[in-house]
């Protein structure tokens, strides 16, 4: 079977058709190869090396030592815990908020387009600028604390209290990413056939029942997409915590995330091999979580 196949493979017309195919795909293959596959392979290579960078680059094969170091690194576990906490709060919150915003807009309120623009604005603003603006708001004498004090709620030292620093970043990110997913939900909502609602109405379903038994199931594949993208995005939290803490992950490692730790390992400590090992751990975590989600959301999602 194999033999015959290989022979047929080598006939001229076969090569010609396949060759033409590959030729047409060449730009994409080269682009993907150089910028996606080659870096992945190189990262695998690096994770088994100790790399000396300053004063002449030298590679030394260290086997699994970088991975063994992962288990003993306290800061990695802190970073993972912070990141997991961040994902666990931000993803559900932003998904629910996105759905709520989309449902509101879809209900046909007055000035729909203006609301749409207003809701979407945070998403198109650069996250670095947003972080700087929020740092002003979070300042001890800033807007948020004044507002909290005005309604008699306790105020916090948002920027330097380890207990609330990460929460501050969470609030900011929920606010700025939810509108992006809102747009996706909005598109999906408009795809749901009107006839389903009409028949439900005839059957006597109220609007909550319509939402619960028609809208939500119809949105299932989109919700999978939104949650999966949310998880991937939140696990890779970097810029906000970098700006918040000036790159240190402080106060008291409260804003240390996995990607920030990778950055510190590469650019502060110049330990490329160890950073590649952390990056692999992160990739495995994200893949696992995404697979679990796919399992939960079932087959329709694919």
């Amino acid at each position: 079977m194999l033999k015959r196949r290989r022979r047929s493979h080598l006939t001229t017309p076969g090569i010609r058709t396949e060759g033409a195919g590959y030729l047409l795909m060449a730009p994409a293959i080269l682009g993907l190869g150089f910028f996606t596959i080659a870096p992945i392979l190189f990262a695998i290579f690096l994770s088994f090396q100790k790399v000396k960078l300053l004063g002449g680059i030298e590679y030394e094969f260290v086997g699994l030592r970088n991975f063994a170091r992962l288990a003993a690194d306290d800061r990695l576990w802190i970073a993972l815990k912070n990141t997991a906490e961040y994902v666990a709060i931000v993803v559900p919150a932003q998904t629910v908020l996105a759905l709520a915003l989309a449902a509101t807009l879809n209900a046909g309120i007055k000035g729909q387009n203006i609301w749409r623009i207003l809701f979407f604005l945070p998403t198109i603003t650069s996250s670095a600028v947003l972080t700087l603006i929020f740092m002003w708001i979070y300042n001890a004498d800033g807007l948020l604390n004044q507002a909290l004090a005005l309604v008699g709620l306790p105020t916090y030292n948002w920027l330097s209290d380890p207990n609330v620093a990460l929460k501050g970043i969470m609030i900011m990110n929920i606010w700025s990413t939810a509108p992006f997913f809102m747009v996706i939900y909005l598109a999906a909502l408009q795809d749901i056939p009107r006839s389903l609602y009409e028949s439900a109405e005839i059957d006597g379903a109220n609007s909550w029942q319509q939402f619960r038994y028609i809208t939500l199931p119809q949105l299932r594949p989109v919700t999978f997409f939104v949650v999966a993208m949310g998880v991937i995005g939140t696990f890779q939290l970097f810029d906000q915590s970098y700006i918040f803490s000036g790159g240190s992950g402080g106060p008291n490692n409260a804003t240390l995330t996995v990607v920030l730790l990778i950055y510190q390992s590469v650019f502060r400590d110049l330990q490329l091999g160890y950073a590649a090992a952390i990056a692999f751990l992160l990739a495995i975590v994200i893949i696992t979580v995404t697979l679990i989600q796919q399992h939960i959301f079932g087959q329709e999602s694919t």
Binding site: R5, I29, G33, F34, I37, A38, L41, F42, K50, L53, L54, G55, G56, I57, R65, R69, A72, D73, D74, R75, N139, A140, D141, G142, N157, L159, S160, D161, P162, G247, S248, G249, G250, P251, N252, N253, Q264, F267, R268, D269, L270, Q271, Y274
Partner: protein
């Protein structure tokens, strides 16, 4: 179908491995073409540094213009890095794209010196350069195994800045001379003017940052690192020293800048939210420009255990070991750290000169605001933490903040920080 996909995938992997290995094996080709008529064309030197205030930037440019006027065969291109200077610089050093001469904070010097990326300067020194004129503690910051890798450009020590008006209001005539007096004064200076239960003026402004605290540990015989470069700040002596900051903070007679909605100690002091701060030379031009009406004076850091102590920070000029223009690079360093060049720069007043003769020439040792800072250099602790400074500093700062906020006892925080720092150092050294 699966078989074909697999075949294609393997083919792709193999081809990329080929491409990658070719890249690694490729012999280094020297692309630089030696210019013709080199003698009459000026050489362009790259000087790397960080930006500062516009007025300092202008002053530095003047110094460079003066250098170019007296050295017509050299042009200087000053490249500033806006943020995360060391990250950028290290990356450029690795990529062989670093400037010929660059600023280097003494804090980062040990790791660069150990990694052989800096040019040793001993061979360039001539007797007329007068190395003995430099402050020894500052030179030592750029020395390793008696090889000199850099020359201190300027320095700054810490002194006590106090608000004269606040002192007069509280009826305090003299700045505190000992730490006990400092605490007593801080108690009297802590005020809630409008009686709303929120303190408007704290006695002392503090920064819970290791860079500002090592001298406190030293006062009781402690240290931040041992001779092997390992963190050792969890000692009894260091604990006693650090308590001098933790206790007043927990007694609410001292505060950190973010507690009062400010971003730095100088801002906190300038806005009158702290009556005393321990700050450096940089605070003088900042306060004079930003808060011209603020009546302030300086004094030496109060004595602890009957010993004087403070911190000193220095920045040096170092030469890239891979520079193509070493003789010219040395000429630039020699000018900038020489008596004329340094005097031109130090006149700006934001940093203290590292040469005795220049300090005297500018009368800084008799300047009412700067004499306390100049005096401090003699007995100051230089800010250096060995080859792995960030691991030590970050571990300390992270745990120390939580101790100062009362989340955990100081002893436990310091032990955790020390263990974490030493664990990171050990992992890096493996």
């Amino acid at each position: 179908m699966v078989y074909r996909d697999l075949q294609f995938f393997v083919l792709m992997i193999v081809s990329f491995l080929c491409v990658m290995s070719c890249q690694v094996r490729m012999p280094q080709i020297d692309w630089t073409i030696s210019p013709l008529g080199q003698s009459d064309r000026p050489i362009t030197l790259k000087l790397g540094g960080w930006g500062s205030s516009p007025s300092e930037q202008r002053l530095f440019q003047t110094v460079l213009t003066t250098f170019e006027a007296t050295h017509p065969h050299i042009r200087v291109k000053f490249e500033t890095v806006a943020d995360q200077y060391m990250d950028v610089l290290k990356t450029r050093l690795i990529g062989d794209a670093a400037p010929d001469v660059f600023f280097l904070d003494s804090f980062e010097a040990p790791s660069l010196m150990a990694n052989q990326v800096l040019e040793p300067l001993n061979a360039y020194l001539t007797p007329d350069f007068d190395l003995a004129d430099f402050e020894t503690t500052l030179l030592a910051a750029f020395q390793q195994d008696s090889i000199l890798y850099g020359l201190p450009k300027d320095c700054s020590s810490l002194a006590l800045f106090y608000n004269k008006q606040a002192f007069a209001e509280a009826g305090i005539a003299q700045p505190p001379a000992t730490w006990d007096e400092l605490l007593a004064d801080a108690q009297r200076l802590t005020r809630d003017r409008d009686q709303n239960g929120k303190i408007d003026q704290y006695g002392l402004g503090i920064l819970p940052d290791l860079a500002r605290l090592v001298y406190l540990m030293r006062a009781f015989g402690g240290a931040a690192i041992d001779p092997q470069g390992k963190a050792t700040f969890a000692s009894e002596a260091a604990l006693k020293g650090l308590n001098l900051i933790v206790q007043p903070y927990q007694d609410r007679i001292a505060a950190r800048p973010p507690d009062v909605g400010t971003s730095s100690g100088t801002e906190m002091f300038g806005q009158g939210k702290a009556a005393m701060v321990i700050e450096g030379n940089w605070a003088i031009p900042f306060l004079q420009e930003t808060f011209p009406a603020l009546p302030f004076a300086t004094a030496e850091v109060p004595r602890i255990q009957d010993q004087s102590g403070t911190m000193v920070y220095t920045v040096g000029y170092v030469m890239n070991r891979r520079s193509q223009h070493k003789p010219e690079a040395w000429e630039l360093i020699r000018y900038l750290t020489g008596k004329t060049g340094m005097a031109l720069w130090a006149k700006g007043g934001s940093a203290l000169p590292s040469r005795h003769s220049v300090a005297q020439q500018l009368h800084y040792d008799r300047d009412p605001l700067r004499s306390a800072l100049v005096a401090g250099i003699q007995y100051a602790t230089p800010w250096q933490l060995g080859q792995y400074p960030t691991a030590i500093m970050n571990s300390f700062n992270n745990q120390f903040i939580s101790a100062i906020l009362g989340e955990q006892p100081l002893r436990q925080a310091l032990q955790r920080a020390e263990d974490s720092a030493n664990q990171q150092i050990q992992a890096a050294e493996q």
